[in-house]
């Protein structure tokens, strides 16, 4: 049984720029699959190759087991929702939606029925006679969806479809996209640089960086168990502590020695690293517990003492920046219950931060070229003298 949609070792360069550098991935029928990554990571190029607007330099694309790599765009059973919607300005909403069916030489009657059904689905019945210039951004978005869906594509390609909308509308359209997906059951291939969109909508996410896939997994997997420091930093916030595996401990755990700290830190050793491996220990801000008093010692908890340098109160969370030796560690704390008489932790306070050994992740050190992309405060980013061998990643991509 062939895969539904398969990219096989795709490569594409524009001039000197390697836009897509050996991407292989498969998408299941009916799923929402996201390509997530920063600008220029090759995600849009990959999507355009599936639509037929770019030809890969190398590699094949298979849809339902059929090689479509050399098919022209109008022959492919995929439809795209463009970033700027690309609605035809000289046609009204109805004509825009009917465009594909007219080309397919569908009978007048059937066109009318199907357009009506689509207008209903995207709630644009009242606007059918309007021109694209007369409707709002969210409405244009809906027309674009209807125009693409009416052809019953095998895959619906969405190229940053929400980028042009404001935040509120974006959240609403996100929900609507999800509802529409439930209704039509078509496979979605969703390209975005917004991790929030990708996380909330997708069944699976492929995180891309410099033309390569860093990790493919469910939103929970890429957030909770990133396989590379790029993924850890790109999705959500994280702190990187630099060290090396000092000893294996307690079966699944190991001790990571940081030159900064006296005692080594305990970490879950899911990657089966061995003593001497150089790693980053990644800990997300919300995994810390912060307190003024030293917490009860716990065999599986790591503890560090530091000084609060900055506090930002955001309502739902408070962000602290805690100085621990050379590091400036980002900690966020939710207020499950906030007592007015409680003495809040302030700037210059001496505090303890602690986290469970399972909440830290050991990651290969990333290359220097990635550093611009990782939006980590400068204090927590380090130069790597040697390039680590990325042997673990290749295996991780094909799960």
């Amino acid at each position: 049984m062939a895969e539904f949609l398969e990219f096989r070792d795709i490569k594409k360069s524009f001039g000197a720029v390697q836009a897509v550098d050996g991407v292989s991935l498969t998408v299941q029928r009916g799923e929402i699959f996201s390509l997530l990554g920063p600008s220029g990571c090759g995600k849009t190029t990959l999507l355009r190759m599936l639509a037929g607007f770019e030809a890969p330099d190398q590699g094949r694309i298979l849809l339902n087991g059929v090689d479509i790599t050399d098919q022209p765009p109008h022959k492919r059973q995929v439809n795209t929702i463009f970033q700027n919607y690309a609605l035809f300005p000289h046609m009204n909403v109805r004509e825009n939606i009917a465009f594909g069916l007219k080309l397919a030489k569908v009978s007048r009657k059937e066109i009318d029925e199907r357009v009506d059904a689509m207008l209903e689905l995207v709630q644009m019945r009242d606007q059918a006679k309007k021109r694209p210039s007369e409707i709002s951004g969210g409405q244009k978005q809906r027309v674009a969806i209807a125009r693409a869906l009416i052809l019953k594509p095998q895959v619906l390609l969405l190229d940053e479809p929400l980028a042009a909308l404001d935040l509120k509308l974006r959240q609403r359209m996100l929900l609507e996209l999800d509802l529409i997906h439930d209704e039509v059951g078509i496979t979605f291939l969703y390209v975005t640089h917004d991790q929030g969109e990708a996380m909330s909508l997708s069944d699976r996410v492929a995180v891309m960086n410099s033309g390569k896939i860093e990790q493919i997994g469910t939103p929970i997997e890429v957030y909770e168990a990133p396989t590379s420091s790029f993924v850890a930093a790109f999705i959500g916030d994280t702190n990187f502590l630099e060290g090396a595996v000092a000893a294996l401990a307690d079966g699944d755990y190991c001790r990571v020695r940081m030159p900064e700290f006296e005692s080594p830190l305990l970490c879950f050793n899911d990657k089966r690293l061995s003593v001497g491996n150089r790693v980053y220990l990644s800990i997300r801000p919300e995994k810390f517990t912060i307190s003024r008093e030293q917490p009860q010692p716990d065999r599986l908890r790591n503890m560090l003492q530091g000084k609060v340098e900055d506090v930002i109160y955001l309502g739902n969370v408070t962000k602290y920046w805690v100085r621990v030796g050379e590091y400036r560690i980002s900690v966020s704390r939710q207020h499950n219950r906030f007592l007015l008489d409680e003495q809040p932790i302030r700037w210059e306070d001496d505090v303890w931060i602690s986290w469970h050994a399972d909440d830290g992740f050991m990651l290969e050190r990333y290359s220097e070229s990635d550093e611009d992309l990782l939006q980590v405060p400068p204090e927590t980013v380090f130069e790597t003298e040697e390039e680590p061998e990325d042997s673990s990643q290749d295996g991780e991509d094909r799960r």
Binding site: G40, K43, T44, P72, F88, F99, E134, H193
Partner: protein, 291 residues
């Protein structure tokens, strides 16, 4: 109150150009129109009284033929110019950005030479002893006895040559503003390239096309120098007749009547223009940077 003040300001601001148009365009046009209803006098001036005699003269069997020729030559010129301008404008707009300026320069560069010089250059080129003629004869494409000059086709050729930039410029301007992702959208929805070109690109540059038609058709209808220099008696256009009546026959009312006729021919398509131009709502959506 405020609105009234704004209205006044608008009137004040448009007054100079309005006055200019009235004094230098509307009044002379009306004068020409009025002269057409006057009798000529023996000295080449304008006589007294009013008459429709001049208009009756237009029934002369010579005229319908000349008017017909003027119309079809202008229309064919316009059609050829637009047909050549559309692919040219399209390619220019799709060319890499750094090429567009030089390409544009190539289109405009003939304007740096006097129009008359260029017309006479064509005459030299097509002269029985000219380089082009010799080349064509050598290639056995024309007989040595055929004249390339003084034929309606020659006039057409030079008309197209002269007015082509006026068609390319508006078509290019419209194409450059055209959002080419619309072509991709059309292809994505099942249109092959040519279909996308016809159903999305051409409507998208509709205004440019109409401007091109107006920019070529109107001056072509009034052509005088090109048929005069390049054509013979079988390629005279209405402009030549007007000149003849003015300078040779000194029959100003007759010339005025012909000029009025020509003006009507020009104004008619202009009056129809708004009907085809459509509403002004073809905005180009903002293009965001593509990741």
């Amino acid at each position: 109150m405020n609105q009234r003040r704004r209205a006044w300001r608008e009137i004040l601001l448009t007054a100079p150009s309005f006055g200019w148009l009235v004094v230098l365009f509307v009044v002379p046009t009306l004068v020409v129109f009025a002269i057409a209803f006057k009798p000529p006098d023996a000295l080449g001036g304008i006589g007294h009284g009013w008459t429709l005699g001049t208009w009756r003269h237009l029934g002369n069997p010579n005229y319908p033929a000349i008017i017909w020729r003027t119309l079809w030559m202008s229309l064919v010129t316009t059609a050829l110019c637009v047909l050549l301008a559309v692919p040219t404008g399209y390619c220019m707009a799709r060319a890499p950005r750094r090429w567009r300026q030089p390409l544009m320069l190539l289109v405009v560069v003939p304007f740096w030479t006097s129009f008359l010089v260029r017309v006479f250059a064509w005459k030299t080129l097509l002269h029985p002893d000219g380089a082009l003629k010799r080349l064509l004869v050598a290639l056995h494409l024309v007989a040595d006895s055929t004249s390339l000059l003084y034929r309606p086709e020659t006039v057409l050729l030079v008309l197209v040559y002269t007015y082509l930039p006026f068609a390319i410029l508006p078509v290019y301007a419209a194409s450059e503003k055209f959002d080419f992702s619309l072509m991709e959208a059309a292809q994505d929805l099942g249109a092959h390239r040519f279909r996308a070109f016809v159903s999305v690109f051409l409507p998208g540059i509709r205004r440019g096309l109409l401007t091109a038609v107006a920019m070529v058709l109107i001056p072509a209808l009034g052509s005088y120098v090109i048929p005069d220099v390049m054509g013979g008696t079988n390629s005279e256009m209405i402009g030549n007749k007007i000149a003849q009546r003015t300078f040779v026959d000194r029959n100003l009312p007759h010339a005025s009547a012909l000029a009025t006729l020509l003006m009507l021919a020009v104004l008619l398509p202009l009056a129809l223009y708004p009907l085809f131009a459509g509403r002004n709502n073809d905005q180009k959506p903002d293009r965001k940077e593509v990741a």
